[in-house]
Symmetry: C2
């Protein structure tokens, strides 16, 4: 089992390589990309303990001159102070414009390493080795990089495409269950917005709540089809001018919930899951899609062990207010991605505030 | 007298508009660019006192919803803390992806505003209104943005093209003499690397050491031909892969001198002037150009009131060592831009350390 998915962009193209055991091929695969000798590997302490040595050895065996640094794990470390640490390491090791930063970790490590690579010497090479399901199917593809502002997620950032995304499904074995489920939220998203067949294949699997219950072949399919969906959308709209906005399905309300719970109580995937349920229900209220499809969406979410209700005690007015500071706001209007059937969505800025309030109150 | 110079890039193009009185036309010129309503004007306290109100009024009259903020003046404020101030203001005023940041000031304000615009919401619109000669002919064109790392200039940054560069030569009347001369260093650079006729026109002017001795028509010519030279080079090489490197003539050693004197004793233009004299002398030693051309270069620099010697007490070994951390280093080799005749240069990484040492010791 192995696949290579091509991301074709006007300015540059790159591969997403998916295969068990890929981690040990990192150096060899990078060697074919005509990069400079110097590599800075960025990770977090836990991931580095599991996989750092294998990654470093693979790079050294391929002839790279490698150093590494680790950043605190979690959204609360996703800030400019962590970026400063990467800059200091880059300076210390005299990284050049032809050098490469490699992100070994989840979305937080990937977004920060990408932002550091985007802004060091006005942009150096960047390779993604995602180690969580969420970052494999979402964060590592598409070139979005950045850090949080104390008052809002990902407000600071840049577009910077990786030269390679290398995925090894075997590293998911050490992923905590809650994080696995968070990644599945994005996979279900691809089913709803783009790939009805992927959605159906997951419906047909008996258990989805833990990785170990899912056949290896379905894991490979989930990774391939999710990456393909994201690559399709990103290739058609690199800078998020239009189509790419559909990837934000569930994210408008999801981000608000994450932010209001301080990025701790509710993680990104859980926020997105709740946001998809809310968006689906808004679509039902606006008669854009039917109750049966919404029921299928909620059921698949529940089978995966994802939340489908608002966290207890959250202030609904605060959610609606937070929507206004979201990046997706245009001319003061909140844009929603709403499903019309399993596998298709539309974008609208015509959702009445009353409908948002009403749907959230019933959750 | 007025000129519009087009900068044509693969992804986008923009105008450099040069005319006396342009400051009052800022709003009108931006109105034709299809930008969002919200504008954040960034400046420094002194420039804002001189020209802030005119700029704000022009923007308001054209229907923009404008706020402003000022950052400390000078290289020592060119850091991530200043950028954070801009981010906070952007959040407070809820800037959107269609919004615009306008830089009103010199290179420091321009580079920082550009970097904030490049990294806020992963990139919003950006307009340059340069108020120093240096930023008019150099920093405001080409899309380089960034801040300093405590250990090196401009190490942190991004490429982000402005939507418009608006130049009003009249604002140069309030420019301190020393800063005017610093700008002239870059103008002389364009003469040496690209435009022998511009060089000759300046040689033919009796005095160049103060703006008030230069005929208005020559000021307009200096601005037009310098901007045209930079636009030509940048259009051919947006991301500094090849040709654009010639713009670094004088900058390799210049940056090292600026850095070693703490960005205060020697300003950017003065550093570049000394760097050009050094590069010229290295070229003489390597028999790439003749002593007579070097003499013409030194004379023009002296007529402008620019330094042509190293600052007293500077450590030559430290200069040579600092060259190693320069962004222009490739595979550990320092690349030099060396003149071959007035109006033409070549790039080489084959300058022996001994020659660098020897030339610097004689300065």
């Amino acid at each position: 089992m192995s696949a290579v998915i091509k991301v074709n962009l006007p300015s540059e193209s790159y591969d997403i390589a998916i295969a068990p055991g890929n981690l040990d091929k990192l150096g060899a695969q990078m060697a074919s990309l005509n990069l400079g000798k110097k590599v800075l590997l960025v990770s977090n302490p836990a991931i580095f303990r599991h996989y750092g040595e294998r990654a470093l050895n693979s790079l050294k065996d391929a002839g790279f001159d490698v150093t590494n640094c680790t950043l605190g794990a979690g959204e609360r470390y996703k800030n400019l102070s962590s970026i400063q640490k990467v800059y200091d390491k880059a300076l210390e090791n005299r990284l050049e414009r032809s050098s490469t930063m490699v992100a070994l970790g989840g979305g937080v490590v990937g977004d920060m390493t990408g932002f550091a690579a985007a802004t060091w010497l006005r942009g150096i090479n960047f390779v993604q080795v995602p180690t969580t399901l969420l970052s494999m199917v979402d964060a590592s593809i598409g070139g979005k990089t950045g850090v949080n502002h104390p008052q809002g997620k990902n407000l600071i950032g840049a577009f910077h495409q990786p030269r390679l995304v290398l995925i090894d499904p075997q590293v998911l074995k050490t992923l905590p269950i809650r994080e696995f489920r968070a990644g599945m939220a994005e996979v279900i998203k691809y089913g709803v917005i783009w790939d009805a067949d992927l959605f159906a294949q997951m419906e047909n699997c008996d258990r989805l709540d833990q990785m170990r219950y899912i056949p290896e072949s379905l894991v490979q399919t989930i990774l391939e089809r999710s990456c393909q969906a994201k690559a399709d959308v990103v290739s058609k709209d690199e800078k998020e001018a239009g189509l790419r906005a559909i990837l934000n399905y569930g994210h408008t309300i999801g981000h608000a919930i994450e932010s209001l719970t301080g990025y701790r109580t509710v993680n990104h995937g859980e926020g997105v899951a709740i946001g998809m349920v809310a968006a689906g229900q808004i679509a039902v209220e606006l008669k854009l899609w039917d109750e049966k499809s919404q029921e299928r969406q909620v059921n698949l979410m529940q089978k995966t062990g994802l939340p489908t209700k608002l966290p207890a005690g959250i202030d609904i007015d605060a959610i609606v207010d937070a929507l206004q500071t979201d990046k997706k706001v245009k001319a003061g209007k909140v844009r929603f991605v709403l499903p019309t059937q399993i596998g298709a969505v539309e974008i609208t800025d015509k959702v009445p505030s009353d409908t948002i309030h009403q749907v959230l109150q019933q959750m």
